[in-house]
Symmetry: D2
Subunit: 299 residues, 4 copies
Amino acid sequence: MKGYIADKLESFKQINKNRARLLIHCADQPGIVAAVSQFLYEHDANIIESNQYSTDPHGGEFFIRIEFEIPDLKENADKLEADFQPISEKFQMDANFTFVDQVKKMAIFVSKEPHCLLELLWEWQSGDLLAEISMVISNHETSRELVEPLGIPYYYIPANKDIREEVEAKQIRLLQENDIDVIVLARYMQILTPNFVETFKNQIINIHHSFLPAFIGAKPYERAYDRGVKLIGATSHFVTNDLDEGPIIEQDISRVDHRDNVEAMKKIGQSVERSVLARAVKWHLEDRIIVHGNKTIVF
Amino acid sequence: MKGYIADKLESFKQINKNRARLLIHCADQPGIVAAVSQFLYEHDANIIESNQYSTDPHGGEFFIRIEFEIPDLKENADKLEADFQPISEKFQMDANFTFVDQVKKMAIFVSKEPHCLLELLWEWQSGDLLAEISMVISNHETSRELVEPLGIPYYYIPANKDIREEVEAKQIRLLQENDIDVIVLARYMQILTPNFVETFKNQIINIHHSFLPAFIGAKPYERAYDRGVKLIGATSHFVTNDLDEGPIIEQDISRVDHRDNVEAMKKIGQSVERSVLARAVKWHLEDRIIVHGNKTIVF
Amino acid sequence: MKGYIADKLESFKQINKNRARLLIHCADQPGIVAAVSQFLYEHDANIIESNQYSTDPHGGEFFIRIEFEIPDLKENADKLEADFQPISEKFQMDANFTFVDQVKKMAIFVSKEPHCLLELLWEWQSGDLLAEISMVISNHETSRELVEPLGIPYYYIPANKDIREEVEAKQIRLLQENDIDVIVLARYMQILTPNFVETFKNQIINIHHSFLPAFIGAKPYERAYDRGVKLIGATSHFVTNDLDEGPIIEQDISRVDHRDNVEAMKKIGQSVERSVLARAVKWHLEDRIIVHGNKTIVF
Amino acid sequence: MKGYIADKLESFKQINKNRARLLIHCADQPGIVAAVSQFLYEHDANIIESNQYSTDPHGGEFFIRIEFEIPDLKENADKLEADFQPISEKFQMDANFTFVDQVKKMAIFVSKEPHCLLELLWEWQSGDLLAEISMVISNHETSRELVEPLGIPYYYIPANKDIREEVEAKQIRLLQENDIDVIVLARYMQILTPNFVETFKNQIINIHHSFLPAFIGAKPYERAYDRGVKLIGATSHFVTNDLDEGPIIEQDISRVDHRDNVEAMKKIGQSVERSVLARAVKWHLEDRIIVHGNKTIVF
């Protein structure tokens, strides 16, 4: 990683060394917020942001995300988690603390088209995408020159459906050796096996170049053109084993008209893909997304 | 029709008594625009607006829409069409003159939900939707009180799939007796038979409550909710015999998030449906839409 | 009020008879959320929705809006407010309970152009705008026939700047006699005096036909056209004594291009005005807006 | 210029070696389109795209842009222009032929914030912005490392208001020596003198970080925040001597809410600025923009 980017990350960690997030999912029931906020109050927490949602206030599922600061968090992190245990048990919570200065380790997968990769790199250089980009993996050499000057290792791993398992074995080794937390498929045009997907459950974010569920699968712009739609779109979602069926994080569209042929649609679409993917990745890095069934809650 | 609306229509006709539109579709070839514009020049036409499009400048299909004014159009209309005959034949055109003061006769079909009907009536009262609304046909009584005070006949024709042919026979008789040019399905929840569709080819405009081709068919909001989409939309299209597969005229979307349940999506969607349908109908009334295969060119 | 609308309102009140909202504004300080949520827990409240915001987590202003249900609210309302008193005092809160079944009484002011009035009436008939529309006041007769058939009294009060005080005296008497809570200026083209504005502080919502602060004052579409903008917009805001300078509630825009003359801009703009005003009014009716200085927090 | 970018440009020139554009502005009068299209027909032109507009069909100003192909254009270009002379004189046209393979020479001015520069460079590398980027001029060294690796000369010319004339003299010399056609101010935070603006009339495109005419001048995001707007925007315009008052080419906006402080607004705004400027520059490179008074016609 280049020096000036490393400096930005370091400064971000320093500024946020006392900041944590608590994400909770449990059955909706009386007293949750009272218990949690009392707990935070007793631990001298300063609440920065708090969002909650219940699927149904009369007996649904409850979700909350609280971002807060605590003096000397580093020294107190273990105690904090331990102290919360009784509350978590009482309400049968799925509760998770994350610490903001532990920035996530990210791998980006890309095939030939670099626009989504470039957007992520650009946001990263600007200090707006706060992750360690540990590697870029590609089945083409084309993006190497965009990546290596930034000090990011570029792994060229040729891929096709006949050697899928072998390829994924290499990829998984690289990802695990580097403790990767997030995998971003920035227009990576290979299908992943169930094994790969299972290994990184809710950690793989894809960008699909249509407003799903329209145009699932291959060649969405060609099919959008054939259908004569007046809008094209892009969808970022977590990857599951059902192609383009995973929980949707973000979508957006752009207008097209009869003058736009497939090539024009692709150009217009690139701009939507870039911004949709960047938003989704940033929300994930900020622990704003909770996967619930086949949907996401984005706080 | 109420007096003040009739007055608006009459004044519109008077203002536009010399205004016509020429819509042409033919194979792209040299000299078309030269011939057409020379023709108009020789007939003292003042071009108000002109739009053209070629699917492929090297041997594709050519489309043009010209709106123009000609002195004493009423007296000269027949001669104009006759004079154009040789040009039309030379270039093997599908050419059509329409005369702006011959406002189209419209029938609106509606079931229970009145929001799209209301939008059309509102635009009509404001003088922004320039048609004669000759009748509203519904399989429910619910909208009668919205329609009759405006002086529009309201025909209640109960419908269900067992009596479809009998129902459509009644409807077709009403439509034909009144020389209806345009049928707008403003959330009419009955499927039309191929016979009905064939009788009014490219004259029936529907609003579907999803961004097609996503969620074709019934209960699109329910399915959008189940899928966890972040956008909902609406699509206005000409009706063909393939359900929700006709040429798309206009689409739009609105953002939703995890807090929006099916009911909320329906409310948000109504607003999109209203504006999408109203735009499509107005473009059709202004002869701005050319159907080409399964697509539309909207000038 | 027509029967079917009254029925909708009655049913809404019945469904929400146990529902209340608590809006709080105070200096940000530790323990607020803990205290409030403990209080609600102890009073058997079921939290439906909760939103909070701090201008600066390190010593800023704190705002929270909680919507909740309590068994037998009607019997317990007074006790609830009384019990909350100590908390309110401890944190020096500006705290307010509202009860959802006490729907607000609304007056709509309109001049000649009825599109915003029509939108509000339409939403109201649909059961989406939950208020008692107690009256429409206009300096023109034009909208009477839209209003009276719905069972809403229509007061024609001619107005001009020479008789402003006399006119406002009449209006204020009408408003106060009918215990009006909200005044919506739905394209009412008269300037209000400081006295009027002061009498109904943070109760008057206006729609201005530009994206403020561009084109403050008269003839915004004409000026937008002259400036050659590519977007036109609308702004809904609370009325203060500085013309078009009050706290902004909502804004939106629509695209225009060189082909759109002033008339076209007005038509396009009407659609934006309608939706912006309707959203703002609905948020206000749901107690979602907190005015803070010259800004709004919209929960 | 790096080899692969040069290759893209070369291939673009080759593909378009027979393509030209004709832009005309004159008083609206009968026979213009007939004469021009007859002329093109006689010169074997294949019309690719044609757009026209009249400020008022009854005696206004007429504008047309025609893109066409002619066999062996290079050999025939002079004859083409000469042959058109009589038509141009007859209708007193302001008429201009441009040849698509003569790509424009562009200079980009930037101060500290590189996001707009980066967007232009990115579009340029992708082959979507078809110009020769001949130089980047900056009053800061910060962007040198983004520019030079692409083979673009980077001129660091420190600037402040005390040395404005001296600075501009250097800049003008550089621009003129390199036959620059287009100057893009990609967040260049220095005011230009009337002399500079006059020297490059209708050739300087600026991006202003607000939806003009709101927030003319300095610190628009700060003022947007203070005003409590719910939308922020960006405007690209030709530079004239009235600050931020030049003809607007393109505008767009993004939503913000009470949670967004000035820093957040800047981040959100960057994304709007990037896309608005890139669109405006591309339209200019394609000769789609005609300046008429203080407005633009964008075909």
